[in-house]
């Protein structure tokens, strides 16, 4: 049944727009939890999803942090991958062609340590066929500013966003860090700099200690917390940001079931991303999509936008 519901004629309208980015439905996979897509192709049809956000890419390949990089916490996952990635050139040569051939709506997550690096990345990705949008990960240290994260300073967030926008004609989504006093302030800065949308949240800065070994569990000491544990915090931020900006908001954080996804869409998100849940169950995104459609049918919602709670 759900297969049919997904077709255009009967059933609710699922498509959403984030600036110039058109998604056939609001369910995407989050950066860092779906590889470069191909890894999942054995189990799910990625082209049925709204899109995928590939693992964060930098100008040069990065080797990542020293292990251990993972630790499970109550209903959460702590990771310190350290942004290991193949670098933009390998991505374009080795990963993008597969995504294009398989008609996967592809958002490229980019990261850098200076405004200049972000700008170069954007320029390199611009005009590449097969790339539908850029997601700018601003939870990175600004090496020129003593390592303060771009995502914790509205001015830095503004500047990165503007640089990326100027360097390319792709739709640009700015991905916000939750480790701030006032996330709306950062979202507004991104909006003012011309972002087509904001996505949130990235992981919460966290840690764990191995009491037998008497040292932090992660090789990197600190890591990012994701998964169901953080969902209530993510939802609150999506609620706040949706009311603070007028560009579309993409909700991320602990989304595991279709009910979770609906909470984010009701809070004001135009689309959502599934992260950790895909690590646990590769088909999580598709299950969420099917559950969403069934819910909309049962409750007579005609389009995604209608889900939003108006206050």
């Amino acid at each position: 049944m759900t297969k049919e519901n997904l077709s255009k004629d009967n059933g609710p309208k699922l498509d959403v727009k984030i600036g110039g980015l058109r998604l056939k439905n609001p369910v995407m996979l989050a950066s860092g939890t779906c590889g470069y897509g191909e890894e999942l192709s054995d189990l799910i049809d990625l082209s049925a999803l709204g899109g995928i956000v590939v693992k964060g890419i930098s100008l040069e390949a990065r080797t990542g942090n020293k292990p251990p990089r993972l630790f499970e916490t109550p209903c959460g996952l702590l990771n310190a991958i350290g942004l290991e990635n193949v670098g933009v050139q390998s991505f374009l040569k080795e990963k993008l062609p597969w995504l294009k051939k398989n008609q996967v709506t592809t958002v490229v997550n980019i990261l850098g340590n200076s405004i200049d690096e972000y700008e170069q990345m954007a320029a390199l990705l611009d005009g590449q066929s097969g790339i539908d949008a850029i997601e700018v990960n601003i939870s990175c240290p600004n090496v020129k500013k003593g390592g303060v994260l771009f995502g914790t300073d509205p001015k830095a967030a503004f500047e990165v966003t503007r640089a990326v926008k100027r360097a390319c004609s792709l739709p640009v989504i700015v991905k916000l860090s939750p480790n701030v006093t006032d996330i709306c302030e950062i979202a507004i800065a991104a909006e003012e700099a011309g972002a087509d949308g904001v996505s949130l949240i990235n992981t919460l800065l966290a840690m764990a200690i191995d009491i037998e070994k008497r040292r932090p569990v992660l090789g990197n000491v600190f890591g990012g917390l994701s998964g169901p544990a953080i969902k209530p915090v993510a939802l609150r931020m999506v609620w706040q940001v949706s009311r603070a900006v007028s560009i579309p908001v993409v909700g991320i954080g602990g989304i595991t079931t279709y009910e979770d996804a609906i909470e984010f869409l009701m809070a004001g998100a135009s689309a959502i991303q599934v992260g950790t849940a895909t690590l646990v169950k590769p088909a999580a995104g598709l299950d969420i999509l099917h559950g969403l459609v069934d819910f909309m049918l049962q409750n007579n919602y005609q389009s995604i936008g209608e889900l939003k709670i108006q206050d």
């Binding site: 990089r69 996952l77 169901p228």
Partner: protein
């Protein structure tokens, strides 16, 4: 054979506590069974878990694979909440299985296999031994004491020569599997050393010792590694280990590695 993997709900046929806190679970999963190779693993979640804690599935080696019946076995120790929930399950109940995952042992150049399993390290090795069954070869199995030796009987049936080491000498040779291995390799001439391939699984210090012995005798050595995993399928890049060529990922590039490619700090 084309590499494929599946996400399946499988029914438990039997779940036996064969030693205190060590369980042998047999279940039906023809799909995974028909593609599985020795050394591969599955990400497993107990059907008893109602909530979201534990959150992740747990990696377990494929202990045995009966391709005719589509039945598989896992051998596991109760460590924490994930394996605890698996241990509480009974026949007829379900588990979720993602697999077969990873790269198994490389069997191509195997002339004379020597299998080395310490403790629960035998988990991936019985499937290997049964696959190599018929070949001339050796399996060295070790444990702290006789009562903790695992799976001796099915190993015997593979036709491989079985050597046992117990740390307290209560059965077989007294000492570690590595001493037995060392004595075995010492007897080889150079030509024989080239034909031998060692396959090892067990605690990390044991694997390091096995590699260093093999290295000394110029013998090829493959090891099955463990790391913490989230996805088991190459999505998260969390299961990194250091190799001579930079980080490798245990779930994708392993868990079975040519030991000479790893950095053994």
């Amino acid at each position: 054979m084309k590499k494929r993997h599946f996400d399946k709900t499988a029914r438990i046929i039997e779940n036996l506590e064969i030693r205190p806190n060590i369980f042998l679970m047999r279940l039906a999963c023809p799909d995974i069974c028909s593609y599985a190779q020795p050394g591969q693993f599955c990400m497993v979640k107990s059907g008893l878990v109602q909530g979201l804690d534990p959150l992740l599935r747990r990696p377990l080696s494929i202990h045995r694979c009966h391709r005719d019946t589509g039945e598989m076995e896992f051998l596991f120790r109760v460590v924490g909440r994930g394996t605890k929930a698996l241990s509480m399950q009974t026949s007829g109940q379900e588990v979720e299985l993602l697999g077969p995952l990873g790269k198994g042992f490389d069997l191509k150049p195997t002339q004379i296999p020597i299998i080395v399993g310490g403790g629960l390290g035998v988990a991936p090795l019985l499937f290997l031994a049964e696959t190599l069954s018929g070949k001339k070869g050796v399996a060295i199995l070790g444990a702290v004491t006789k009562g903790e030796l695992l799976r001796l009987e099915p190993f015997k049936k593979t036709g491989l020569e079985i050597l046992v080491a117990t740390e307290d000498g209560s059965f077989g040779n007294e000492g570690l599997v590595t001493s037995v291995l060392e004595r075995l390799l010492a007897k080889l001439d150079d030509r024989a050393a080239r034909d031998v391939a060692v396959f090892a699984c067990g605690p990390h210090p044991m694997l390091r010792a096995v590699f260093s012995i093999c290295n000394g005798y110029g013998v090829k050595c493959q090891v099955a590694l463990e790391t913490i995993m989230a996805c088991g399928s190459g999505l998260c890049l969390g299961c990194a280990v250091r190799s001579s060529g930079g980080y490798m990922h245990v779930c994708k590039d392993g868990p079975c590695f040519d030991a000479s490619r790893l950095l053994w700090e």
